[in-house]
C-alpha cells in the first residue's frame, strides 16, 4: 500500500461490509483534502478516491491463493 493516497486517512473496514468469505470487503477512507500541490493535481490512488467518504471494494489475497502482483493486471 505504499502508493495509497497520496492523501488518505481515517482508513477503516466497517464490519458490516465484510463478506461471508472473510476476505472480500469494503475499505472506507477519506482522501485528498487539498486539491493540488504546486498547482498540480494530487495523484489519486486507487482510482476514484476523493474528499469525503470513499468506499473501495477489496479482496485480501491469501498467501497460498493465486493472484498476481500489481503491474501484471
Amino acid at each position: 500500500m505504499k502508493e495509497f493516497g497520496m492523501q488518505a486517512y481515517f482508513v477503516n473496514i466497517p464490519s458490516k461490509f465484510i463478506g461471508a468469505d472473510g476476505v472480500t470487503m469494503w475499505l472506507l477512507y477519506s482522501g485528498n483534502f487539498s486539491l493540488d500541490q504546486n498547482e498540480k493535481p494530487h495523484p489519486v490512488n486507487p482510482p476514484g478516491g476523493h474528499y469525503g467518504m470513499t468506499f473501495q471494494k477489496i479482496e485480501l489475497l491469501r498467501t497460498q491463493s493465486s493472484g498476481t502482483a500489481r503491474g501484471s493486471d
Binding site: 502508493e3 458490516k16 469494503w26 482510482p47 476514484g48 467518504m53 491469501r62
Partner: protein
C-alpha cells in the same frame, strides 16, 4: 510704511492665509470623507488603491501567515500580519497581529515595519515579504466569498427581500435590485427565527471608524448586530460582527468593502412566565461570512444603542430593523425561517442533490502486502496482497467517516469538516480548523446493505466537543 500699520497688515495677511488654509483643508477633508464608492467596477476604475486593498495569503487552512491590507485613502495603507493565516482560516485572537504602514509609489506599495525598515513590497497583486535571512516570501491576493452567499430560502421561509420589491418593509426602498439602508422595519414580527441576510458596505477609504460604511441589523427592533466596514480592524463590539455594547465578535470576519457579505443568525426569543415576567433573555448565534462569531450568546439587556424600540422588554416578538446611518449600505437576499431552530442551524442551505452514492469503476489491480519499516505491527503471514476490485462508492461530503454498526443495522459515524446533506433538505457544515472552543463535529448515518446503494446523511452537529483534528488535539474527557 508705518510700522504699526505694517504689523496690522501682516497680522491680517497671516490670519487670512490661515483662514484660507484651514478652509481649504476642511473642504478637502470634507470631500474626501464624503467620497463613497458603491460600485466595485467604478471604484476599480477611479481609485488604484481599491484593487490593492484586500486579503493576501492562502484561501485554505494551514498557512503560516495571512495579511489584510486596508486602504486609508490617497495611496496610504495599513497591513495587518496575522499569525497562522487569515481570520477563519487560522488566526485567532490569542495569536500575533502586527501592523505595517504602506505608501503607494506609482503601482508599487512599500510597507515599513515599526522600526522603519522596509518590510514588504506589493506589486501586481503579490505581496513580497523580506525575510530575516535575506530570502523573500510571497503572498498572492485572494478574494474570499462567504460559503452561504446566495443561499436559497427553504420552502418554509418568509422572503423579506428578493430584489423585486421592498413591500415587506415599512419605509423600505429598493434600487437596482438592492434594499437600501433607509431605516426600514419589517412589517412582520418574529419570535424565534433563523435569518439569512446579505449586505455590502461602500468603499470609503478616507473615512474612519463609525463613518466607514455604517448600518446595523436589529433583532426584534432592539439588539444590533453591527454592519460596518471594519475590515482588518480589531473586531470590537461596535464593529462588524459585534453585538453593539454587549459582545465583540470572536473573530473579525469582515471582508473588504464592496464585497458581498452574509449574516446567518439563529435567534431565540426571550421567554416569559404566565404572569408576563421575563423568565429568560433572548439568545443569539451569529455567523458572519460563514464563520461563527457568537455562539448562543445571551442578550441580557432591553436594547442596544440607537435601537428603534427602547421600552422595557415585554414580549417575545419584534420586527427586524435595518439602520440608516447615513451610509450607502445595501442589502439583498433576505429571508427568515420563523419558529423552532433545531432544523435550521446556521450554514444550512437548500439541498441540491439526492443522497445516492457516487459510483466509479476502474480496472482491478493488486498491491503486494508490504508494511513500512517503522510499522509497530508484524506483517501478517496469512495474506500476500490486497486486490482492488475496480469499484468505488461513496459521497463527496463530510470527511473522516469511521462508522460503528448498531443493533438497528444502521452505521453511525462522526464526521468532521465540510458540508454533509441532511434528510430535511438542508446541509450541515462542520469546521475543525477554527479555534478549539468553536469547532463542531458532525454526526451521520450510513444506511443500507449494499455499498453501491447506500444512503448517507448528517443527523446534526455536536457543538459541545472541543479539540481540533486539524492540530491533532482532543479535549480531556
Amino acid at each position: 510704511m508705518n510700522p504699526e500699520l505694517m504689523n496690522r497688515t501682516t497680522t491680517i495677511c497671516l490670519l487670512s492665509a490661515l483662514f484660507f488654509v484651514t478652509a481649504y483643508q476642511a473642504q478637502i477633508t470634507g470631500e474626501n470623507r464624503s467620497k463613497a464608492w458603491t460600485d466595485p467596477e467604478v471604484a476599480r476604475q477611479e481609485d488604484p488603491d481599491f484593487t490593492i486593498q484586500g486579503e493576501y495569503g492562502s484561501a485554505g487552512a494551514g498557512a503560516s501567515l495571512g495579511v489584510q491590507v486596508v486602504a486609508l485613502g490617497n495611496g496610504r495603507f495599513d497591513a495587518y500580519l496575522l499569525q497562522d493565516g487569515l481570520p477563519g482560516l487560522g488566526w485567532t485572537r490569542e495569536k500575533s497581529r502586527t501592523v505595517w504602514k504602506g505608501l503607494r509609489d506609482g503601482e508599487k506599495v512599500i510597507f515599513t515595519s515599526a522600526d522603519k525598515k522596509v518590510a514588504a513590497t506589493l506589486l501586481g497583486g503579490t505581496l513580497r515579504l523580506a525575510g530575516e535571512d535575506g530570502k523573500h516570501s510571497t503572498l498572492p491576493r485572494i478574494e474570499r466569498t462567504s460559503p452561504t452567499l446566495g443561499a436559497k430560502p427553504p420552502k418554509d421561509a418568509v422572503v423579506l427581500f428578493d430584489g423585486s420589491s421592498a413591500e415587506q418593509w415599512e419605509n423600505g426602498k429598493s434600487e437596482k435590485g438592492f434594499l437600501l439602508a433607509t431605516g426600514c422595519t419589517s412589517k412582520q414580527r418574529f419570535g424565534d427565527y433563523t435569518l439569512h441576510l446579505e449586505f455590502r458596505t461602500p468603499y470609503k477609504p478616507t473615512a474612519r471608524g463609525q463613518q466607514r460604511g455604517n448600518s446595523g441589523l436589529y433583532h426584534s427592533g432592539r439588539w444590533e448586530t453591527q454592519i460596518l466596514d471594519s475590515f482588518g480592524l480589531d473586531g470590537n463590539d461596535n464593529e462588524c460582527g459585534g453585538i453593539y455594547s454587549i459582545s465583540k465578535p470572536r473573530l473579525n470576519m469582515c471582508l473588504p468593502p464592496l464585497a458581498w457579505q452574509t449574516y446567518d443568525v439563529e435567534f431565540t426569543a426571550a421567554k416569559f412566565d404566565p404572569s408576563g415576567k421575563r423568565a429568560a433573555w433572548p439568545r443569539i448565534t451569529v455567523r458572519l461570512n460563514g464563520v461563527s462569531v457568537h455562539e448562543d450568546l445571551e442578550l441580557a439587556k432591553d436594547f442596544t444603542t440607537s435601537a428603534p424600540i427602547t421600552k422595557p422588554l415585554d414580549g417575545p416578538e419584534g420586527p427586524l430593523f435595518l439602520q440608516d446611518h447615513g451610509n450607502p449600505v445595501v442589502f439583498r437576499n433576505i429571508w427568515i425561517v420563523p419558529g423552532k431552530l433545531a432544523a435550521h442551524l446556521p450554514g444550512a442551505e437548500p439541498q441540491t442533490a439526492d443522497l445516492k452514492p457516487e459510483i466509479f469503476r476502474f480496472d482491478p489491480f493488486t498491491w503486494p502486502s508490504e508494511i513500512p519499516q517503522d510499522c509497530p505491527f508484524e506483517r501478517s503471514g496469512a495474506f500476500r496482497a490486497i486486490r482492488f476490485l475496480g469499484v468505488k462508492s461513496g459521497f463527496r461530503y463530510g470527511d473522516t467517516w469511521y462508522p460503528s454498526w448498531a443493533e438497528n443495522d444502521i452505521l453511525y459515524s462522526p464526521w468532521t469538516d465540510g458540508k454533509t446533506k441532511r434528510l430535511d433538505g438542508y446541509t450541515d457544515w462542520s469546521q475543525s480548523w477554527v479555534d478549539p472552543v468553536h469547532i463542531t463535529t458532525g454526526q451521520g448515518v450510513i444506511i443500507g446493505d449494499d455499498p453501491l446503494k447506500l444512503v448517507a446523511y448528517s443527523i446534526g452537529l455536536d457543538r459541545k466537543r472541543t479539540g481540533s483534528t486539524a492540530i491533532g488535539k482532543s479535549s480531556p474527557p
